[in-house]
Amino acid sequence: MKKLSEFFLILEVIKKDLKVEARNKAVINQMLLFALTTTFLFSVSIDVESFFPQIILLIILFTSISGSSISILREYDLETIEGLKASPLTNSQLMTAKVLSNLILVLVLSFFVYPICYALFNLKGNFLLTFIALAIVVLPISGVITLLAPLSASSKGREMLLLAMIFPVIFPVILPATKLIGLAYSGVFDLMNALFIFSYAGMIYSLSILLSDQIL
């Protein structure tokens, strides 16, 4: 019963986060604008089909960093994070809520961006399997952003710092992610790489929750 009520607290924070993002629109607009500009530039400049896994990964990765990190950093800028820290929420509950709301945000964005990429790049591969592969790849990306964004919150050049911190942590999944997307595009689901990415995302999420006292 206690666990259930703790889960409802996490759910309330997620609901609040998504409501704030939907009302604010700044983050969603920034993410969409970045994604669409990059997609358009790639679609007119190179033969995308040969590099599709790398390009879509690049778009999703940088769009997620540019947008979803802001949603966490804004809590620090407006000091609303102090209201949450002063509440009966534990740091691990707060971190879990932040990880999940960030994941939903990035997944929703991918849901909008991917079909546009597919149409603009004039792709002919497996649409659904590629989308599932992308959804799996998004798991560690959003986890790493949520884990590292609070650490850069008080830094002056935090956008650059965040990018520099994210890259080495996300590096181990880049190759498996491109392979997973590439094979999914040709209609094959690469279970081994999917499992590796799942495990890595699980490790990042566990680390976020374990280190929540130090991070937040």
Partner: protein, 217 residues
Amino acid sequence: MILCEGLSKRFGYNFALRDVSFRSEGKIAIFGFNGAGKSTLAKILAGVLKPSSGRVEIFGMEPRKSPGLRGEIGLVTHNPMLYRELTVKENLEFYAKLYRAKDWKSVVEDLKLSEKLGSRVLELSKGFIQRVAIARALLAKPRVLILDEALSGLDVESKEEVLRIIQNFNGTLVFSTHNFEDAKFCDNFLVLDRGKLSYFGENYEEALRVLSNSRSY
């Protein structure tokens, strides 16, 4: 009861609080000039900040380690800690759910916020925002109320209303203010000078005398 023992807080190389120790019951006023460490002390007492060293206990529990205790502490700072995009009602409902507060509508009426429930926080004046922040702190009927410059931005009428609520507050109160006259009703007075405790006692006049001699003055 609030107990602080050897409490220090460091930000980088700077000490915001240095070896602060006191034991207090009832209503306590914190006096000090800018940079004295009042906000840092308030945030440590509310469990928002972790002390660099020393111990803080409220009713025998450490606020940072006890979510249950934090549920009984109301905190108001100069920053309202409200979500500007959400309405007053949405903000209060959100915090009411976190604090598991059921009967919070009376607080809204006490602070005369009923008409503003549907307004977004970003549409409100500074005075109203501060009233909502006070309502947020009071909605769970806390046993401990920590106010750090909570009256700043309020007009005379609102300030008097809020002061009346604070004076009638039936619990432990920590009240930090620049307007010392407002805190005259408190049982204990604590003076901070550049992070150090320079006075702790029941004598209001003595607290003001120590304050006027403090180095930040």
